[in-house]
């Protein structure tokens, strides 16, 4: 298991809804079909208005992001229940989101799929981090390391194990809740 996630941060504000994470016009792609999953990844966060976000999360013509870490304000992932949202972020190469708060279904979908660590943090970070700044997230201590400062993340509790196992199905198989062979 990866103990640390490090790399460049992408920074967004408050109330980033699922239409901005993956616009509805791309929801015909089915996440369980591998080539369609890659498409979804290529469109991750393309719903952010260019006027506010001139630097794109995934560059035009590419399928992967150079930002494995997203820093967000409050209510990240609000709006629809589309699981395409965490899946698109992860398909692009994002591993962790650190937000002031989350909308319920997005948070739940991160855990159910196990594709992203949705960490909450006590203070607002979007104003403190530049897009492209190198960050380290220590999953063992559940802290965000910025330069030589360590900021505690709100522990994910039981959900952390589920995400580490790769989602609820893998977790249920690993722990014997459902037969491993199914």
């Amino acid at each position: 298991m990866t103990k640390r996630i490090f790399g460049k941060a992408y920074v967004v504000g408050d109330n980033i809804d699922t239409d901005q994470i993956i616009p509805a016009q791309y929801l015909m792609y089915v996440p369980t079909v591998p080539e369609e999953l890659e498409k979804l990844g290529s469109y991750a966060l393309c719903g952010l208005p260019e006027s506010l976000y001139p630097l794109r999360f995934v560059e035009a013509g590419k399928t992967k992001t150079e930002y494995p870490i997203i820093i967000a304000g409050k209510n990240f992932g609000c709006g629809s229940s589309r699981e395409h949202a965490p899946i698109a972020l992860a398909a692009a190469g994002c591993r962790v989101v650190i937000a002031k708060s989350y909308a319920r279904i997005f948070f739940r979908n991160c855990i159910a799929t196990g594709v992203l660590f949705p960490y909450e943090i006590g203070e607002r970070f979007p104003e403190k981090i530049e897009i492209g700044q190198e960050l380290v997230v220590d999953l063992e201590t559940e802290t965000l390391l910025v330069a030589d400062h360590a900021y505690p993340l709100k522990p994910l509790g039981d959900a952390k194990e589920v995400i580490e196992a790769g989602g609820i199905f893998n977790y249920a198989k690993k722990t014997g809740m459902i037969p491993a062979g199914s």
Binding site: Q20, A24, Q25, M28, R82, R104, N109, S182
Partner: protein, 455 residues
């Protein structure tokens, strides 16, 4: 216990549950559609095996409704995936777009977006169609792969949106692990004034508690004001609980609820038995609000989110380029009646689109008359572009050829439920959310207008 707690206690076979407690509940109905159904089926097959059977074919309802009347080939294919799964599993409640169980769905662009292109089983927008088709009963637990699944809370039901992975789990087991939400009480008193609709009330409430004001919580609407609302008004309210971040919205049941549900069950031959969940004296709320319905005025949510609240008259200087009526929250029959009542003997001055939410609404629009003129004729005469093809349409943008999609940076007033950047299409478009009456009055004047000017 609150209404939500009582339903969840019953569904988890416990005598009592507490907010914050994680419990396994039994599902009464799992709802899915063309956008999340194929992914849910993918998860189900991946995890339970290629030959796996769903836990109970009578408890799965599949209603294609999102991207139906489009030439986009993947969207058409997604309806075919649902049909193949239905056939394989022997599911009785698949509301297909076409009649041939062995056929393939293909939208015909030559026929255009206005003329009917669906068969006899198609049900339209799932949140309106689900109760219409007799699948909603008080006291039950409904999970759906759509955030507006909470609409069914209008019927004294626990109803909430889930993702594909959770839905795949439910499909195989009938169970789901959920957290019991704390409840916020909204005690409603009085009655809405003429020209004021349930949409105004819920926009007022979301503006009051904030866009994330009910995150992880249940919004319980009660009091004489709640009972004064029609069933469809209650649906409008419960539908938008998610716009305050809530897990669910819920109403107590009254005779209106029982009559509606029984009539629909009888008509469709669905499961008859249900048990209403009554209000208890001893309820613990996270917070409580009292609202006098007679004080509510026509309310508008300005971009970029549904909590950005204004009175319609405060936005009277905002010019609009387009008006839109439709969706699960704003395309029901009563929405159309209200819309037509303002438009009668008037002409729209901006491009105006109307999308009925279900084929039944289409049918009624031809039958119901105001002063000898059908609602349909009133709209056509007023210059509204109205389609016979019910679907989610432009509420969530969708493929580029979607009817009414905002493909340019226009200012649009809409009876739908979301106004995030890009929600109806173009990222730079500005969407104002309002009641069907406010949309109608604004469409006539070409700027945001308090509909009471037309009463």
């Amino acid at each position: 216990m609150t209404l939500t707690e009582k339903i969840l206690a019953k569904a988890s076979k416990k005598s009592k549950v507490f907010p914050g407690e994680n419990i396994w509940v039994e599902t009464d109905i799992l709802l899915t559609h063309d956008v999340c159904g194929p992914g849910t089926i993918g998860v189900f097959k991946r995890e339970f095996g290629k030959n796996a059977r769903v836990w109970n074919p009578y408890k799965i309802v599949i209603m294609p409704d999102h991207y139906i009347f489009t030439s986009d080939s993947l969207s058409n294919r997604n309806v075919d995936i649902l049909r193949a799964f239905t056939k394989e599993q022997g599911l009785p409640y698949f509301y297909d777009v076409i009649d041939d169980p062995n056929g393939n769905w293909k939208f015909d662009p030559l026929k255009g977006p206005l003329k009917r292109q669906y068969g006899m089983h198609y049900a339209g927008v799932c949140h309106t169609a689900l109760p219409e088709k007799g699948h909603v009963r008080p006291g039950e637990v409904l999970f759906g792969t759509d955030s507006h699944t909470c609409t069914a809370g209008a019927f004294n039901q626990f109803a909430t949106g889930i993702g594909n992975t959770d839905a795949g789990f439910v499909m195989g087991t009938g169970k789901l692990l959920i957290k019991v939400p704390p409840t916020i009480q909204f005690y409603l008193d009085g009655e809405l004034q003429k020209g004021v609709m349930a949409k105004d009330l819920i926009l007022y409430i979301i503006g009051e508690i904030g866009f994330d004001g009910a995150t992880y919580m249940a919004m319980q609407f009660e009091g004489p004001g709640a009972f004064s609302l029609s069933i469809e008004d209650r649906m409008t309210m419960a539908n938008m609980a998610i716009e305050a971040g809530a897990k669910n919205g819920i109403f107590p049941a009254d005779q209106k609820t029982i009559d509606y549900v029984n009539q629909r069950i009888l008509k469709n031959g669905t499961k008859k038995e249900f048990e209403i969940v009554e209000l208890e004296k001893d309820q613990k709320f996270f917070a409580s609000y009292s609202i006098d319905l007679s004080k509510i005025e026509p309310t508008v949510a300005a971009p970029p989110n549904p909590a950005n609240r204004f009175k319609a008259k405060e936005l009277a200087s905002v010019k609009i380029d387009r008006a839109y009526l439709g969706s699960c929250t704003g395309g029901k029959l009563t929405d159309f009646i209200a819309f037509a009542s303002i438009l009668k003997n008037n002409m729209v001055s901006v491009e105006t689109f109307a999308v009925p939410s279900t084929p039944e609404v289409v049918d009624q629009l031809h039958k119901i008359e105001i002063e000898g003129q059908s609602l349909w004729e009133i709209l056509v005469q007023a210059g509204v572009k109205i389609t016979e093809n019910p679907s989610c349409a432009a509420c969530l943008g969708g493929p580029m050829d979607t009817f009414g999609r905002v493909n340019k940076p226009l200012v649009c007033i809409s009876s739908t439920n979301r106004n995030f950047p890009g929600r109806m299409g173009d990222k730079a478009a500005l969407v104002y959310l309002a009641s069907p009456m406010t949309v109608a009055a604004s469409a006539i004047k070409g700027k945001i207008t308090d509909p009471r000017e037309f009463l």
